[in-house]
């Protein structure tokens, strides 16, 4: 740190000069925090202000810059300086905008600003400017796993953008599930009639594209590496294993039908004239316009379609979700009959008709116009009635049990994703990993595979992409679609959520773009998302590591493997830079160049803690930079006030919070600590998927620490905050201030 030269720049604009004693702030920066160069400016983000800073960097050797002005979320472009570490003291949104402009508030407001200046100068002292990582590898080839509608579309889109693509398809032909259909749900206005199946056109395009290589009858026997340097071992059914290098992977492994044999009440197993939608489409494809016949060769005069068969059901073994396409598929299939012969009676029995997509409602109306009957009802049983079928159901509109006689019954069974091994169900990184001693070990999961793996990843955390719910791959469906928990590997199509062919095509286009984004960022050695462009990456001090494996287990993205000597092996290109590993490390050996146990720990230690009798408590707020910190900034913009005793430090993710910070804060005499992260659980909004959840688990154990210090458990609180919580987040701070007033000040003030 011999060549560290810190410049602290204090802005007087936006009312800062009126509300704060900036000369005092300059003094604090220089005297308390030991900045080498300290300057005030009346308008720091102006051309002149920026020039002043740049000149100090160029001429005075300033290489650590503390901007004491507005929030780090404001004026980001102006305050970007190449080759130096930069931080911000949030005096505007974080101080003057959340405090009343009154004489009595002046002193505590100034206290706040003084501390934020100390904190910024201290933080930047412990930072160094990040440089691109050395593992950078640029491979433009994209691997697509699965040759159905999703996979072929992704391949064509990536190829059109100029990236070579390889498709690996398990079966002997391209086309996937949709290839079995006679016609498709319409994708074009007026959405009135079934359209030609899109699959043939897609196959022709793929085959004509010299930029796309197709491996049929092939699977991945092993996948190694990281974005920019994946190596796939492609095993052909009867042939050699081919090793190829890829920059990114798109998994489009599709779905299979729910097994109708599981549903004896619908008579599927016992009656040949009870068929699934997939089978009906195959029958129609074979007939190719000729009248459809029952299995005993009679022309079909009456068809009943039963919706939601074994799906949207909470019965054991059923699918709890809606597969999204089946209502439209039944309308399409009823039209097969109506278009051929309007005198054929077709009845669609549904509980809720759902026709998603732009043309869904039009297609439904078209079905009604063609005379397809739609009946709101629940089918209890399908039984043989002579050589026909009796469909017993309750008509929910007429509120009566009734029966319809049919020649053919079509079951809308749902989609089951081909999402590979559920590595978490097997590994269960249960809570008890916390109970492993600091120097103990967490063994890699011994996986027994009930399902065939799709990717066969050589990652320590397991061979496939983690699931979210109902077996669908976790693909951050709220904030960042396609992004799985394996950087550079994207899911698309029904493996990620139920969808029809048209939605799958749109979806695949998005996944192709994400894959390209990963390829390009990996090539430049920086994060793809959500911290796009971030050059920092984690490293660890080998001599201090106890090989406890917590970092490898807790990394939400499976970025950390183990080397031959059982030390963690960071794969920077897989890393999203959340810092969950840093938060996990009991011996605190993991750090980023510009984000470490010290950059935060030293800040919280360097604020001024007034003694007990001054009645100025201190509340440390560790706020996630993604939602909680912006919410607090917006509170400032909206003039929502909060306690002057709060000191807020943004963190990359709550997952990066190391418990030492809490212990240090308590030992330093803070009266309360608040952690603010994103929503966790099934509907998580955590940008790093598991960070907030892991932090909550860690914090649930913090009571022991508090007890050992004889402190009240109320002094530490962990919350889930949404970016819209601009009233709630300040209120939680104020609540803590009230709590402290009730339980008294911390005895740990020196």
């Amino acid at each position: 740190m011999s060549d560290v030269k810190i410049g602290a720049y204090i802005c007087q604009g936006c009312g800062l000069g009126d509300r704060l004693d900036t000369a005092q702030l300059a003094q604090v920066a220089q005297r308390d925090a030991k900045a080498n160069v300290v300057k005030e400016h009346e308008f720091l983000c102006s051309e002149a202000g920026i020039k002043m800073i740049q000149e100090d960097i160029d001429n005075e050797g300033v290489n650590r810059v503390a901007i004491c002005a507005c929030s780090r979320r404001a004026k980001t472009e102006a305050f970007t300086f190449e080759g130096v570490a930069v931080t911000r003291a949030n005096l505007r949104e974080g101080v003057i905008w959340v405090r009343p402009d009154t004489d009595e508030a002046r002193e505590t407001t100034q206290d706040m600003a003084d501390d934020y200046v100390r904190m910024a100068v201290t933080e930047v002292k412990y930072q160094s400017p990040p440089t691109p990582n050395q593992e950078t590898s640029y491979t433009r080839d994209i691997l697509v796993v699965g040759g159905g509608v999703s996979g072929m579309t992704a391949a064509l889109e990536a190829s059109r953008a100029g990236y070579p693509v390889t498709i690996v398809e398990k079966t002997g032909a391209l086309g996937g599930h949709a290839a079995h259909a006679w016609k498709g749900i319409p994708m074009h206005a007026p959405y009135a009639d079934p359209e030609d199946n899109i699959v043939d056109e897609l196959i022709a395009k793929v085959e004509a594209d010299s930029n796309i290589t197709v491996f049929l009858n092939s699977t991945l026997s092993r996948t190694d590496g990281a974005p920019g340097r994946f190596v796939a071992h492609i095993a052909q059914e009867s042939g050699p294993v081919t090793d190829r290098k890829f920059g990114a992977i798109i998994q489009a492994s599709g779905y299979r039908d729910f097994d109708a044999n599981e549903l004896p009440e619908f008579g599927y197993a016992s009656n040949a004239n009870v068929v699934t939608q997939t089978e009906l489409d195959a029958m129609a494809k074979e007939a190719n316009g000729a009248p459809l016949k029952t299995k005993d060769g009679k022309e079909v005069k009456n068809v009943v379609f039963i919706q939601c068969v074994g799906q949207r059901s909470d019965k054991e073994g059923h699918l709890p979700y809606c597969s999204g396409h089946c209502c439209l598929t039944s309308i399409k299939q009823a039209m097969y009959f109506k278009d051929a012969n309007p005198d054929i009676d077709t009845n669609v029995i549904y509980t809720d008709l759902r026709t998603p997509g732009a043309g869904g409602e039009d297609f439904y109306r078209s079905g009604q116009r063609k005379g397809v009957t739609f009946t709101k009802g629940v089918v209890s049983e399908v039984v043989a009635e002579g050589d026909r079928l009796a469909v017993k159901f309750k008509d929910l509109i007429l509120d009566e049990d009734t029966v319809e006689i049919a020649d053919l019954v079509v079951l809308a069974t749902g989609m089951v994703p081909n999402s590979g091994v559920d590595i978490e169900a097997i590994a269960k990184p249960a809570d008890d990993e916390e109970e492993v001693d600091a120097d103990g070990e967490v063994e890699p999961p011994q996986v027994e595979l009930p399902v065939e793996s799709i990717l066969n990843l050589s990652y320590r955390q397991g061979p496939d992409l983690p699931h979210l719910k109902y077996g669908f791959n976790d693909s951050h469906f709220i904030c960042f679609p396609y992004e799985t928990r394996r950087t550079g590997i994207y899911t698309t199509g029904p493996v990620r959520r139920p969808m029809d062919a048209q939605q799958a095509m749109e979806d695949a286009t998005g996944a192709a773009l994400k894959a390209i984004q990963a390829v390009e960022n990996a090539g430049k050695g920086r994060a793809a998302h959500p911290r796009s462009g971030d050059l920092s990456f984690p490293s660890f001090r080998r001599e201090g590591c106890t090989q406890c494996k917590r970092c490898t287990v807790e990394c939400p993205f499976g970025a950390i493997d183990e080397d031959e000597e059982r030390y963690p092996q960071f794969n920077e290109a897989r890393c999203r830079r959340c810092g969950t590993c840093m938060g996990a490390c009991p011996v605190r050996v993991i750090s980023f160049e510009n984000y470490s146990v010290d950059t935060v720990g030293q800040q919280l230690k360097n604020i001024d803690i007034p003694d007990e009798f001054e009645e100025k408590p201190r509340i440390l707020v560790l706020a996630c930079e993604n939602d909680a910190y912006p919410a607090l900034d917006m509170a400032g913009m909206n003039g929502v006030e909060y306690s002057a005793f709060a000191r807020i430090i943004p963190v990359r993710c709550l997952g990066s919070v190391n418990l030492i910070w809490i212990t240090d804060a308590m030992n330093s005499g803070y009266d309360g600590v608040i952690l603010m992260g994103c929503q966790k659980g099934e509907n998580y909004q955590c940008h790093f998927v598991k960070g907030s959840e892991i932090a909550h688990i860690r914090m649930s154990k913090v009571d022991d620490t508090l007890q050992s210090l004889s402190l009240e458990p109320e002094r530490v609180a962990t919350y889930e905050i949404a970016i819209t919580d601009i009233e709630r987040a300040p209120k939680l701070i104020n609540d803590m201030a009230e709590t402290i007033e009730k339980i008294g000040m911390s005895p740990f003030k020196f």
């Binding site: 009456n302 005198d343 009676d345 009845n347 008709l353 439904y364 109306r365 009604q368 116009r369 005379g371 009957t373 739609f374 009946t375 709101k376 009796a390 008509d395 509109i397 007429l398 009734t402 029966v403 319809e404 006689i405």
Partner: protein
């Protein structure tokens, strides 16, 4: 009909097709999406034997008699709330009127349904002279349930009639003559021809 035959006929398009052919705006029945907004919006909703949503489903379920013999359609006040609110823009008011007319023509409408009686009298009244004679209409109304009932009803309505008379909004002399169009024969010829055209178009049904 045996239970089995009934089952074989249920949820077939036959009655729907009859309605489409013979009922005013009957083409629209198949477009109902069973949301129930019509039933919930009807001012007399609770009094319908089968609210409009059910009527549409009954038609699609092939329940011809249940529909045509029902008093339901006669509960329509023509407030058009169902039309205004139907997300599928079905002309529900007109369909209900059309079903009532069709049931009447088939002789299946409930004979003593009061609105049916009133509606028929109204039509008779207006076609006589081309304009409605409110007094005659009222008097015939009072007696529509028989003489004794009529006297009772009329007595009950006396204060109302007196009020109307006092404010010159009811003229007893109307009973003997009153307003009307000059060209009654022309008007009657028009109506006769219109009815002729309409009845000729009715598709014969087996029922």
């Amino acid at each position: 009909m045996s239970a089995n035959v009934q089952a074989i006929e249920s949820y077939r398009n036959s009655f729907l097709k009859e309605v489409e052919a013979n009922v005013e705006e009957g083409d629209w029945v198949k477009m109902c999406m069973q949301c129930g907004v019509c039933s919930g919006s009807c001012p007399l909703g609770p009094y319908w034997e089968h609210p409009p949503q059910e009527i549409f489903m009954l038609i699609r379920a092939g329940k011809r008699e249940e529909v045509l013999k029902s008093s339901s359609m006669w509960m329509c006040t023509s407030c058009y709330n169902c039309i205004a609110r139907c997300p599928r823009e079905l002309p529900i008011t007109h369909i209900m009127h059309g079903l009532a007319t069709y049931a009447e023509r088939l002789g299946m409408a409930p004979k003593n349904q009061p609105t049916r009686k009133f509606a028929l009298k109204f039509w008779d009244n207006l076609t006589k002279k081309g304009r409605v004679n409110e007094l005659k209409l009222g008097v015939s109304l009072y007696f529509m349930n028989g003489f004794v009932e009529g006297i009772k009803t009329a007595l009950k309505a006396m204060p109302l009639g007196m009020n109307m008379y006092k404010t010159k909004r009811l003229n007893p002399m109307e009973y003997f003559g009153g307003h009307g169009v000059k060209d009654t024969s022309g008007l009657k010829a028009i109506l006769k021809k219109a009815e002729e055209i309409e009845l000729a178009k009715l598709k014969k049904t087996d029922a």
